[in-house]
Structure formats: structure tokens, C-alpha cells
Amino acid sequence: MKTTTIFSTFALSVLTTGFAHAAELLNVSYDPTREFYTDFNDAFKTHWKEKTGEVVKISQSHGGSGKQARSVIDGLPADVVTLALSGDIDIIATKTKAIPKHWQSRLPNNSSPYTSTIVFVTRNGNPKQIKDWADLIKPGVEVITPNPKTSGGARWNYLAAWAWADKEYQGDRKQVLGYIKRLFANVPVLDAGARASTTTFAQRGIGDVFLSWENEAYLIEKEFPGKTTIVYPSISILAEPPVAVVTKNTDKKGTTKIAQAYLEYLYTDVGQELAAKHFYRPRNAQIAEKYSKQFPTISLVTLDEKFGGWSKAQKEHFDDGGTFDQIYSVK
């Protein structure tokens, strides 16, 4: 009896040490990518096994993009980060030097293998006839968006609205600010994160229109069939969620090669197809063509063109004293 116990303990320890040799990757990501990366990880595991014969274990961590970046800065041993904003990866790079400064040029398409945009989700059949950004400031229309101070997604909402207003009022800053102010006057609840806003709109039934990630909008449609309608505004913003290898961590763990391969796999047909399936716009033109029904072409401005990059936009609009604070402090 005792010998069997000892033997099985021994066998178990051999077995576990055997597993410990398998490479382990930690992917630190943001909230709405949970479902996508679950599928993608399985695909990559199979691919890697076929290619090299190695077994790889992949763990995921999800949360608000900024919070995740802070965890990595504070020492969470991420191998790769796949976040919502390039600014969050920039901060990791400057604060910890764990990622080289030029990280964004290490992979194609500014290191963002898939893109997304901001769309409107209205109640089924769009009873308030909300067609474009101008309709959001009509009296009696309630708009749901998370708080740009605490949510990365909300910052994209804000910038998309800004981009439209900037075009509409031909760059007259006072009028643009006026528009944004009236827009937020129609917001009854500012949740801390994107998923909380989804709950407020879809489950609490509050608001007439919800400014949402495109992929989140389709998820709501799947989750609450027949309850909502997706509306594409005349203009929106091209969100490019970036990915990067945290080189300092992977060098230490000896996982640099596999982490690199993991991110590159996002650009292959398999990765792109999976992204499209989870409602992210693929970069690959052929796959994008295949899913073109799902992703209507609309006019998209980019952050670099319109706002001069992330850090500039963050400073001008969302840091203390920025335009977002101004619309609330001026009575």
C-alpha cells in the first residue's frame, strides 16, 4: 500500500516535471478579446505541435487595458501583451524597458493584426431613428458610453465623435467642444468599463443608443437576439489594437522564439480567419473580402492622421485638464 503511494507520488512528480519543460506563454490582454484568444490559442497549440513537436501551454489574463498594462509594469511576467491601445504598450516600454521603444515596427501593420471600429447599437428597429453622430445630441436621446477616464474603449468613442464633429464644423474647436458637451449631457450613466456599459444598455435597458466596439456590438446581437440593431455612422475611427512581445520577460524565460511565432501566427490565414469570426476586422485583404458583408465599408479616420498619435490624443483629451474635463467643469 505504502509503496504504491510512494511510487505514484514519484510518477506524478516525474510527470509534472515533464510538463514543466513544456513552454508556457502568458498572454496579457484586454476585456473583449477573451473569446477570440481562447480559440486562437487552441489553433496555435496545434500548429506549434505539428511544426516543432513541442507542447506549449498558454494562459490568458483579461481586464481593462490600462489595468493590464499596470500589472505588467508592476511585474506580471507576461510573454506577450495584446492590448486595446498602443499608448498602453508605450507606457510599458518607457516605464520598464521590457519592450524596445520601436516595438510597433517589429510586426506588420503597426503591430496590429486586426482592427475594429466604433459603431452604434440601438434598440431593435432603431425607434429613435438614430443614423449618425448628429442624432446623438437630440433632446430626449440617451447615450450610453463608458467613462473615458477609466475605459480604453470609451476613449475611442470619444475620439470618433470628435472626428465627426471636427469634419462637420470644419475644425471650429469651439463648436466641436460644444457638440461633445451636448453629447455627454445626454449620457445618464458613465460606467467604469466597456463590459459594464454593455450590461447597462442590454440588461438594465437604459439608454437609446450605445457607443460600442464593433465586435462587442455583434456579441450583444448574439447574446440578445432581436433586441438590438447595429447602426453604422457616416464616419468612425479605425481602432488598431496592438500586440507585442515583452522581450525582457521572454529572454529570461527562454520563450522569445515561441512568443514571436505566436504573434506572427495572428497574421496567418488561420489567425485572420479566427479574428474575423470573432468580429475583428482582418488585415488580410482576401479574408476581409470574404467577410465584407459583416464589415461594411465606412469612412474611418486613423489616430495618427487625425490626432497625431496616441500620446498626443491622451494628453489633449483625457489627462487632467483635457477636453473631457473641460466639458464637465464648465457649467
Binding site: 481593462g64 490600462g66 489595468k67 499596470r70 507606457i91 516605464k95 467613462n147 477616464k149 477609466t150 449620457v187 445618464p188 450613466v189 458613465l190 460606467d191 467604469a192 459594464a196 450590461t199 440588461q203 438594465r204 435597458g205 437604459i206 491622451q314 483625457f318 489627462d319 487632467d320 474635463d325 464637465y328 467643469s329
Partner: protein, 272 residues
């Protein structure tokens, strides 16, 4: 040797451990917080703490916490009275339920309360018809904080009330006191210290509460933002110092308030 002999030895060891333990889990993190905040000058401290947004949030946080603690104290006393003085079927179950707010993850509490009190919720829809909005405003914050705070009052008052023998009431009755006088002159004064402790705990907990409040508060700047949310907003901007300053400010105000309450309690004890 002038060393005093104690019945149970080990003062050195236990005191040493106490100091070590308190340092490790309380003092060192707090000192680290102040060091972080000290990265900014006094002018910056003043600017951050007196900015309109922080002031508005402070008013809501401390105001709603105080109101919730007062209501928790009154309701808590009532519940304790029922649990201690009467026996009825299901009493044990009810007693156990009091602890639920301790055990429930605060986010779950927040989401559940919002679901119930939102304008389309079970209770919220009727309140809405009466013109009362119970979520996404200060009322919502107050409701969440009452939920969080009231077990503290029950659990501090309960043992005192249990220990208080029936004889005291009987003695009062034989001396000619009617029921109201007995409660007012005999029972209540004995409960006051415990009630104050319960109030303090509920109040302190409410000030720092984040998880349950952010779901029901609506988080509108200048209107329904609480201080912990502003700390998170600052962290979100990677502005660690400003976050530490707000946290330190909160801590100092809370500390002063707790000391004042403690002094009050001492005085009450003295008068007896």
C-alpha cells in the same frame, strides 16, 4: 530582577510578532503610499485635493458614507434586538444572512443592487413611478453603502445585548420604570459604546468601498463620482502620484474622524 511575573509567559515573543505582523501588512504599505505621494510638492497636493472634481467626490463619499452609517446603526440595532430578544422559526437562518454582505464579492453586490433598483428593476420600477430614482445617483450610492455597512453594527451590538441579562430589565421594572423608560434609561446607554463602534466600522468601510458602488452610482463627473473612482481614474492615466495624494488625503480625513469618534466614545465611558 524587577521583572514582573505574568501568569502566561511569552510577552516578548507575542509583542514582537504583533509589531512585525502589523508592520508587514499595515504600516509598510501605508508608508509606501505616503512616500509615493510625497513625490509631489505641497502646492500640488493642495491643487489636487481642492480641485472641484475631488471636492465634489469627497462630499458625496463622506456624506453618503455618514448617512449610510447612521441608517445602518438604526436598522442594525433593530435587527439585533429581534435576533437576540425573540425566538421564532428561521431565526438561525436570518442570523446567518446578516453576514452575507461580508462574504459576497462587492461587485456582485453592486450588480445585484443595480438590477433591483434600476428604473426597470424589481423595486426600481415602482419607485420610478413614484418619481424616485434609486440608482445612478446619490441615492444609489447610499443604498449600496447601507448594504455593506449594516452587518458591522449587528455584529458589534449583538454580543453586548446577549450578555445583558433580563434581570436588569426586571430590576428596572420593580423600581417602577415603564418599558420606554427602561429602554431609554437602562438598556440604550449600555449599548451606546457598541453602537458607536458599529457606526465607526460601517462608516470606515463605506468610505473605501469601490466595487459595489461603481455599478450603481453612474459615475458622472461632478455629480456621482466617489473618491475611490477618482483614484482609479488617476491610475488609468499612469498618474501614480496624484492617485497616492487622493488616497493619502482620504486616509488623513478618515483617520481624524476615527480619532474623534474614539474620543467621543471615551468621554461617554467616563461619564458612566
Amino acid at each position: 530582577m524587577s521583572r514582573k511575573h505574568r501568569v502566561i509567559p511569552g510577552f516578548g515573543l507575542t509583542a514582537g510578532f504583533t509589531i512585525f505582523y502589523l508592520s508587514l501588512i499595515i504600516l509598510i504599505p501605508l508608508i509606501a503610499l505616503f512616500i509615493k505621494a510625497a513625490g509631489l510638492g505641497l502646492d500640488d497636493w493642495w491643487d489636487i485635493l481642492t480641485s472641484p472634481r475631488v471636492m465634489a467626490a469627497a462630499k458625496l463619499t463622506f456624506g453618503a458614507s455618514a448617512a449610510a452609517a447612521v441608517v445602518s446603526t438604526i436598522l442594525g440595532l433593530l435587527v439585533t434586538w429581534v435576533l437576540v430578544r425573540y425566538s421564532f422559526p428561521g431565526k438561525r437562518l436570518l442570523d446567518g444572512m446578516v453576514d452575507l454582505p461580508f462574504a459576497l464579492p462587492t461587485a456582485v453586490a453592486g450588480i445585484t443592487l443595480t438590477q433591483i433598483y434600476a428604473p426597470n428593476g424589481w423595486v426600481g420600477q415602482y419607485l420610478d413611478k413614484m418619481g424616485i430614482q434609486a440608482a445612478y445617483n446619490a441615492t444609489g450610492v447610499f443604498i449600496a453603502l447601507t448594504f455593506i455597512g449594516f452587518p458591522f453594527v449587528v455584529r458589534t451590538v449583538q454580543p453586548i445585548l446577549e450578555d445583558m441579562g433580563k434581570e436588569i430589565e426586571e430590576a428596572a421594572a420593580t423600581l417602577g420604570a415603564n418599558r420606554w423608560t427602561t429602554f431609554r434609561q437602562v438598556i440604550f446607554p449600555m449599548l451606546v459604546p457598541a453602537l458607536i463602534t458599529g457606526f465607526t466600522l460601517a462608516f470606515a468601510r463605506a468610505i473605501g468601498e469601490y466595487g459595489s458602488v461603481i455599478f450603481i452610482s453612474g459615475n458622472l463627473p461632478m455629480k456621482t463620482e466617489i473618491l475611490p473612482l477618482l483614484i482609479v481614474s488617476q491610475l488609468e492615466q499612469y498618474n501614480y502620484e496624484a492617485a497616492a495624494v487622493i488616497a493619502s488625503g482620504m486616509l488623513l480625513v478618515s483617520f481624524v474622524m476615527l480619532i474623534l469618534i474614539n474620543l467621543l466614545q471615551r468621554r461617554l465611558d467616563w461619564q458612566k
